[in-house]
Symmetry: C2
Subunit: 343 residues, 2 copies
């Protein structure tokens, strides 16, 4: 299970079964970059299968996730989402009412993102052959004027060899912005899951973030963006540190978190940095534009609790957090996600 949970064991799995077996150096941002989407002939292209459990949870359902997750993976490349696919694997006897609800969620979420589902597939398998319903969405996106502007603004500050923000784009001094409170999705899911069942008001944050991202790019200077899904913020920051060859320092007291998530994490003994989110973006921004990007992000409802959480720096190796008590804690990439099947 941990090989699918977004952490270090998944990285090993990908090296062993994907990078070893597949040609992976094709495109502007190739498969081998293991970024959120590939860039091929100017088109951003990404895919995600959703196996979330349960299918309905506080704040959303698999349909919201499947649209928002893929929209976000396109958008963090700076691309403008063009279209999504939807492929369902349905267990024989699955509730028609539930399927109607889920399709409605997909359509509503796509509308919110301003994107359409244009192609699809459905397979039905016997009872016991699939866990109710799995949905795959793939997505394509294209360059926009906002993206061109964003890249131009980076280049006013420094050299930048890519035409897209990407995992390798973070440099010494870049300011790290989180678009809002972390941990909500994983905790909401867990509170609803059999065998846990604790009372909380926490809802999933699942939402398309493309409008927030567009607002940030209008200011410009965003060198990389990621959505902290499987493996959470801890995994995200370590991917940056690794691929951009730069240290990252964050401050615990600057991490946006809801009280209810803090309590739940304490109760369950879970590190909020390792929990998956589905409606958050973490951005790296050239230093002198960070305040303006923050303001832009905050101007959108999904970004109104955005905060600067740290900075890339050559002064540390890997990811380092200054704790509430003034200590220092190394943030390692998690082995797996403490909440499996979050998406």
């Amino acid at each position: 299970m941990s090989q699918g949970a977004g952490g270090e064991r998944m990285q090993e799995f990908i090296r062993e079964f994907v990078l070893r077996e597949l040609d992976h150096d094709f495109g502007e941002i190739p498969l081998g970059a293991l970024d959120d989407a590939a860039i091929i002939e100017g088109i951003a292209f990404t895919t995600d299968s959703y196996t979330v459990k349960p299918l309905f949870f506080p704040g959303g359902d698999i349909g919201v996730l499947a649209v928002a997750g893929t929209v976000n993976d396109i958008s963090v490349m700076g691309a403008q989402p063009m279209a999504l696919s939807c492929a369902m694997i349905i267990q024989e006897g699955f509730s028609g009412d539930d399927l109607h609800k889920i399709m409605k969620s997909m359509n509503a979420t796509a509308k919110k993102a301003g994107v359409r589902i244009v192609t699809g597939d459905s397979k039905v398998v016997e009872k016991g052959a699939a866990d109710g319903l799995f949905i795959n969405t793939s997505g394509i996106g294209k360059r926009s004027g906002h993206l061109d502007h964003n890249i131009e603004m980076i280049r006013r500050s420094r050299q930048f060899k890519w035409n897209w923000p990407n995992d390798s784009g973070v440099a010494d001094g870049d300011v790290i912005i989180a678009s809002g409170p972390i941990g909500n999705h994983g905790i909401a899911l867990l509170s609803f899951r059999e065998g846990y069942g604790f009372e909380t008001t926490v809802k999933s944050d699942a939402a398309p973030m493309n409008h927030v991202i567009a607002e940030g790019m209008k200011v410009g200077g965003i060198t990389s963006m990621k959505d902290p899904t499987r493996g959470g913020v801890a995994n995200l920051l370590n991917e940056w540190a690794d691929k951009s060859r730069v240290g990252i320092r964050i401050r615990e007291e600057d991490l946006p978190m809801d009280e209810a998530v803090i309590s739940a994490c304490e109760m369950l003994g879970i590190d909020p940095l390792e929990i998956g989110n589905e409606g958050k973006i973490v951005m790296a921004v050239v230093p002198d534009m960070a305040d303006d990007v923050l303001k832009a992000v905050r101007s959108k409802p999904e970004g109104k609790k955005a905060k600067i959480i740290g900075q890339a720096t050559k002064k540390v190796k890997g990811v380092m957090m200054e704790t509430h008590t003034g200590g220092k804690r190394v943030i390692e990439p998690p082995v797996g996600d403490p909440v499996p099947r979050i998406c």
Copy 2:
């Protein structure tokens, strides 16, 4: 199960859950056209989940299928495949050796098609939550010079309002070409499936058909192409008859079929027209170019047994077959595929 088998019940399912719930009129060839791929801003975009059982079968495996099937869905729109995605849902404990084999198949098949897998996803689910391995591939394709030429050649014969061959493009008189013998994939699968186990030399035909299609388009005049997967040739021809509002007449004696497939179908009481294929294309071609297209298709190894099997005609309603005995048989769209989980 029949709702996923490619026949009439699947059409009902799609009307009820997809067309009713999703906005579906976006793009040059929109979702609502229910064609093999959508066309959006000049990009062909398609998706398919593969739930084939068993994963390994005579002539191929789920990896070959997953690449070939999606390459073919892009290619039948006349588009040149650009890139594929690969998203796996893996059951906990799935054999690493099998996964290596499957990934090698995917890479080899992609190479054969001249396309790359550029983005991916992997999810691991508990034992009992998925039937070993499901693979989704989505794909994107673009216009090519061959496609432009193909459309131009159609327009020398008649008006054609689309820029792409598509399900609605068939007109009275168009000649129907099948690229080779039908029924092999379904029979190969069945022969290897638990509970059937009969001896046959039949192998799956799974193969990417983009090179054959490109050869045909170099001649030009192809008004529609489809690959007869779920629901087989019977379903394919009925889709054309329905969407192009034209009758189709085929001759049983012209249907290319291998002896071993004929015997197996007789033994099992299965109509070969209803069996899924994974490396065949059926083309509709403007009459005066049909012989040259046939010749072009036959020049490629995957098309060397191609035959003209019939013609579109206003003189019949729906799909009509002249039988070996000189009789006439109405070919209805199958209710489901007689061999479930063929892809």
